[in-house]
C-alpha cells in the first residue's frame, strides 16, 4: 500500500520510496527512509497537501508525491 492510504492518526512503516530522483533525495534528507515509522496527521483544509510526522519532524508532502512512498502496517 502507499502512504496516502493511511487514515488520520494511523502510523505505518516505510518500505520503499519509488521513483528515483530529486524528490526522493529530499525526502531522505528530511528523514523519510525505509524502515522508519511514519504517522499521518492531517490533510490541509483544501484536501492537499498532507502533514506527516517522521523522525521527530513534521513535514508537508503533496498527495501525488506521497503516492510514491510504499508502506506496510
Amino acid at each position: 500500500m502507499n502512504l496516502t492510504e493511511l487514515k488520520r492518526g494511523e502510523d505505518a512503516t516505510i518500505v520503499k520510496i519509488g521513483k528515483v530522483g530529486e524528490l526522493k533525495r529530499r525526502l531522505i534528507d528530511l528523514g523519510v527512509t525505509a524502515g522508519e515509522k511514519i504517522v499521518f496527521k492531517r490533510d490541509a483544509p483544501l484536501g492537499d497537501p498532507q502533514q506527516y510526522y517522521i523522525k521527530g519532524t513534521s513535514i508537508a508532502v503533496r498527495k501525488e508525491d506521497a503516492k510514491n512512498i510504499e508502506i506496510k502496517k
Binding site: 527512509t33 521527530g56 508532502v61
Partner: protein, 735 residues
C-alpha cells in the same frame, strides 16, 4: 584571523545563536550572484580577529540545491578554520544527518547542541562523553537565551581552530556498515595507486573523494572531469554496480540509509528520551491553526492583521519622512542653493533631494515588512501558510509560499518583491516577483480615481474592480507563459517542507533581522533608485528649464504618440508623455496630467508664502510631527482597516493633487469622442501593467540583478502595449 562558519538545518535556532555571539556586528548581504542571504560578522575577541559566517540552513549537502552547493563549496574552498555545526538537540536523529555529511568533508568541526533548554525540559539525557567519543567531535550545549553556552562555544571553537591549524584533512570515523566501509576502502586504495588522482588528493581527503565517487555525486564527477580531466573510473563503476544490485536501491539511497543507520547506532548507545517530544506543544497549536475550519479562518485573520499593520502602521511614518525631506531638509537645502543657476538649484532640490526622499519614504514600509516577515518565519507560521495555500497557488504553477508576496502586492509592489525571499528556489522567486507588479498596488488608485471621475461616473467602482481582476488574470497568464523559460522554470515541482515547531522568537532576533535588511535596502536598492530618479528629473526639466510641455518627456510624448495610436489613448500625446513620469511613482500621473493639461507648471506646489520660522522651531515642528505619526501609526495598526487601503481617493483629493480643473481638463482630452470611455479604460489598463515604479525596479535589481531588471523592463513594456491594443481594437468593434 580565525574564520568560523556556522552550518546547520533550518529552524534549529542558528540565527539566534549567531546573533547572540556577534550581536550588532552582524551584517547582511547576498552570496555572490544568488539571492541567498549571507550573514557575516567581524569582531575582536580575546585579542584575536574573528570572522563569523552564517552558511545557509540546509538539510543535506547534495549538488542539487543552491543553498547546499553554497555550503559545501564554501567549506571546501574557503577553508574555514572551524565549522560550528548547530544541531537541534531535541531532534538529534535527523540533525546528525548533516553532521555526518559535514564530517565527510574532513574539516575542523564542533557541535553546538542547541535548544538545550528545551532538551532538558523534555527530560532527555545524553551521555556526552560517549557521544563525543562515537562522533569524534567535541560539543557544547547552547541555548541562545543563555549567554554562558555561547561564550563557551566560541572559546572551544577557537581552541579547535588552533589545534587543527596545520591538519589538512581530518579523518573522522563515519561508521558505515562493514560491507560499505570495505568498498570505500577498496576504492581508496585504487585511487591512491592511480596517478591521475594525485593532484585531486592534494586538494581533497581520499575518504571524501572515494565516497563522492561511489555516491556518483554529479557535481563532484563534473569537477573531476573539468578540473582534473578524469572521466572513467572503472573500479568505482564495478563497485557501484555491485552495491546497487546487492541492496536493490540506487547508490545515493544506500549511502543515505547507511548514514542514518550509523546515527541510530550512536544514539541507541548515548541518548535516553522520555515520553515527551518536541512536537507536543506544536501538535496542539496545529490542531487549531491547521484545522479544516479554524485553519482557514485564523489564516485570513492573520493575513488581514499583517496586511493592515504593515500598510496602516507604516503610512503615517511614510508621510512624515516625506514631509521631513520635502519641508524641513528641503527648506534648508533650498536656502543654501539660493543664487545658483536655476538648473543646478532644481537638480539639487527636485532631482537629488527628491530622489533621496523617494528612497527614504519606503524605509518605514521596509521596517514593517521585514519585521513581520521575520516574525512569520521565525515563529514557524510561514511554512503553515505554504501548507494552507499550496493547493490554490499550485493552480497557477507556484507553491504555497508565493501567497504572501501576491497579497502584499496589492498594498505595494516593493515589499512584495522582497518577500519572495521566503520562497525556496530561485526560479520560483523570480517568477513570483515578476508577477507581483500585476497585483494592482495602492499607488495606482489615484490614477484610477482621476480617470474614473472624468469618464465613468457611477461605474467607477466597477471599473476599478475589473482592473484588479484583469491584473490578476494577466499575472496568471504571464506565469503560464514564462514558466516555460529556463530562467523561471522551477525544477522543484513538489511541495516538500518541514513544518517546524512553533517558537516565540526573541524581539532582539526579529529587530536585528529587520534593521539589517532595511539597511541593505537603503544601500543596495537606494543607489539605483536615486540614479533613475535623477535621470527622470533631467528628462522632465531639460531642455526648457522646467517647462514640462516642451521637456524631453513632452517631446517623447509628442513623437511617440503615433506608436500608441492603436491603444486608443495615443491620439493624445499627453497620456503618452505621462508614462515615463509614472515610473517615479504611479500616482505622479495625476500631478503630471494636471501640469500638462492645464498649462500650469506649478499647480500642485501652490507656493504659499511660508511664515518665517527659525531652525529650532522647524526642528520642534518635525519632532512633534513624528510624535503625531507615531500616534497615528498605532491607531492605524489597531484599526485593522483593510478596506480603507483599497478605497480610491475622493474627487477632492484628486483635485488637490492634480489641480482644481484637472478632471474637467481630462474630460476635454476626449470631449465629444464617442470612444472616450474605451480610450480611458485602455489607458488605465496600460498604467496598471506598465513598468513598475523605480523603487520596485531597484528592488528587482537588488534581489535578482541586472538580467532580471532587463526582463522586467521588457515584459512590462510589451505586455501593457499589447493588452491595451487588443482591448481597444476588439472593444471598438463592439462599442
Amino acid at each position: 584571523m580565525i574564520k568560523i562558519a556556522f552550518a546547520g538545518n533550518p529552524n534549529v535556532g542558528k540565527s539566534a545563536l549567531i546573533n547572540a555571539m556577534a550581536g550588532s556586528k552582524l551584517k547582511v548581504g547576498n552570496w555572490p550572484g544568488v539571492t541567498v542571504e549571507k550573514k557575516e560578522a567581524f569582531f575582536r575577541y580575546k585579542d584575536q580577529d574573528i570572522q563569523l559566517i552564517d552558511l545557509p540552513g540546509v538539510y543535506s549537502l547534495s549538488p542539487y540545491s543552491m543553498e547546499e552547493v553554497i555550503t559545501r563549496d564554501y567549506i571546501l574552498e574557503e577553508n574555514p578554520d572551524v565549522i560550528i555545526n548547530v544541531v537541534d538537540s531535541t531532534n538529534l536523529e535527523r540533525n546528525l544527518y548533516l553532521t555526518f555529511l559535514l564530517k565527510e568533508l574532513g574539516k575542523p568541526m564542533i557541535i553546538a547542541l542547541n535548544l538545550y533548554d528545551e532538551f532538558q525540559k523534555l527530560e532527555y539525557k545524553l551521555d556526552k562523553k560517549e557521544f563525543k567519543q562515537f562522533l569524534g567531535l567535541d560539543m557544547v550545549p547552547t541555548s541562545a537565551l543563555k549567554k554562558d553556552g555561547v561564550i563557551k562555544l566560541l572559546d572551544r571553537s577557537i581552541e579547535i581552530a588552533k589545534e587543527k591549524k596545520d591538519v589538512k584533512h581530518i579523518k573522522y570515523e563515519i561508521g558505515f556498515k562493514k560491507e560499505l566501509e570495505e568498498d570505500i576502502k577498496i576504492l581508496k586504495e585504487s585511487l591512491e595507486n592511480d596517478s591521475r588522482f594525485s593532484p585531486v588528493l592534494k586538494e581533497f581527503s581520499v575518504d571524501y573523494v572515494a565516497i563522492k565517487i561511489l555516491e556518483s555525486d554529479e557535481k563532484f564527477l563534473k569537477r573531476l572531469k573539468n578540473q582534473f580531466d578524469i572521466e572513467k573510473i572503472e573500479k568505482a563503476e564495478i563497485l557501484i554496480k555491485n552495491i546497487e544490485k546487492e541492496y536493490d536501491e540506487d547508490i545515493e539511497t544506500v549511502f543515505a540509509e547507511a548514514r542514518y543507520g550509523a546515527i541510530k547506532g550512536v544514539l541507541a548507545k548515548t541518548l535516553t528520551t522520555s515520553m515527551k517530544t518536541r512536537l507536543d506543544f506544536t501538535d496542539k497549536v496545529d490542531k487549531i491553526l491547521l484545522n479544516r475550519f479554524f485553519g482557514p479562518l485564523t489564516f485570513m485573520i492573520i493575513m488581514m492583521v499583517v496586511f493592515s499593520i504593515i500598510f496602516n502602521g507604516s503610512g503615517p511614518y511614510i508621510d512624515w519622512v516625506d514631509g521631513f525631506i520635502a519641508d524641513f531638509v528641503g527648506k534648508y537645502v533650498a536656502n543654501i542653493m539660493v543664487g545658483t543657476a536655476p538648473w543646478l538649484n532644481s537638480l539639487v532640490v527636485d532631482g537629488i533631494l527628491g530622489g533621496v526622499g523617494g528612497v527614504l519614504v519606503f524605509v518605514p514600509l521596509m521596517v514593517f515588512l521585514y519585521f513581520f516577515m521575520a516574525l512569520l518565519e521565525e515563529s514557524g507560521y510561514m511554512s503553515r501558510v505554504a501548507f494552507l495555500m499550496d493547493k490554490i497557488m499550485r493552480g497557477i504553477g507556484l507553491n504555497g509560499k508565493a501567497f504572501l508576496p501576491m497579497i502584499l502586492g496589492f498594498g505595494c509592489t516593493v515589499p512584495a518583491i522582497y518577500s519572495t525571499r521566503t520562497l525556496d528556489d530561485l526560479p520560483s522567486k523570480r517568477l513570483t516577483a515578476l508577477m507581483t507588479p500585476l497585483m494592482s498596488c495602492g499607488a495606482r488608485l489615484p490614477v484610477y480615481a482621476l480617470f474614473t471621475a472624468a469618464f465613468f461616473g457611477k461605474q467607477a467602482g466597477l471599473v476599478i474592480f475589473s482592473l484588479y481582476g484583469l491584473g490578476m488574470l494577466a499575472a496568471v497568464i504571464l506565469g503560464f507563459i514564462l514558466k516555460r523559460f529556463h530562467y523561471f522554470k522551477s525544477e522543484d515541482r513538489s511541495l516538500l517542507i518541514e513544518l517546524p515547531p512553533y517558537r516565540i522568537p526573541t524581539l532582539k532576533l526579529i529587530l536585528g533581522s529587520t534593521f539589517r535588511r532595511t539597511w541593505s535596502y537603503i544601500k543596495k536598492a537606494g543607489t539605483i533608485i536615486l540614479g533613475i530618479l535623477v535621470i527622470l528629473w533631467g528628462l522632465m526639466y531639460f531642455p526648457n528649464g522646467g517647462d514640462v510641455q516642451n521637456s524631453y518627456i513632452g517631446k517623447f510624448g509628442k513623437t511617440f504618440a503615433v506608436i500608441f495610436e492603436p491603444t486608443g489613448f495615443g491620439n493624445r500625446w499627453e497620456t503618452v508623455a505621462a508614462i515615463p513620469p509614472s515610473l517615479v511613482a504611479k500616482e505622479v500621473v495625476v500631478g503630471f496630467m494636471g501640469q500638462v493639461l492645464q498649462n500650469d507648471t506649478d499647480n500642485n506646489e501652490a507656493e504659499e508664502l511660508a511664515e518665517e520660522t527659525s531652525f529650532s522651531e522647524d526642528l520642534v515642528g518635525q519632532i512633534s510631527a513624528f510624535k503625531d505619526a507615531t500616534v497615528d501609526s498605532f491607531k492605524g495598526m489597531i484599526s485593522m482597516d483593510v478596506a480603507g487601503l483599497f478605497a480610491a481617493p475622493s474627487e477632492e483629493e484628486v483635485k488637490e493633487e492634480g489641480g482644481e480643473g484637472v478632471i474637467t481638463a481630462l474630460q476635454n482630452l476626449w470631449a465629444d469622442d464617442p470612444l472616450a470611455k474605451l480610450r480611458a479604460y485602455s489607458y488605465l489598463l496600460f498604467i496598471l501593467m506598465v513598468i513598475p515604479c523605480v523603487v520596485a525596479l531597484g528592488a528587482f535589481f537588488q534581489e535578482f540583478g541586472l538580467k532580471m531588471f532587463g526582463i522586467v523592463l521588457l515584459t512590462y513594456t510589451v505586455v501593457p502595449y499589447f493588452v491595451s491594443v487588443i482591448f481597444f481594437q476588439i472593444g471598438k468593434l463592439f462599442y
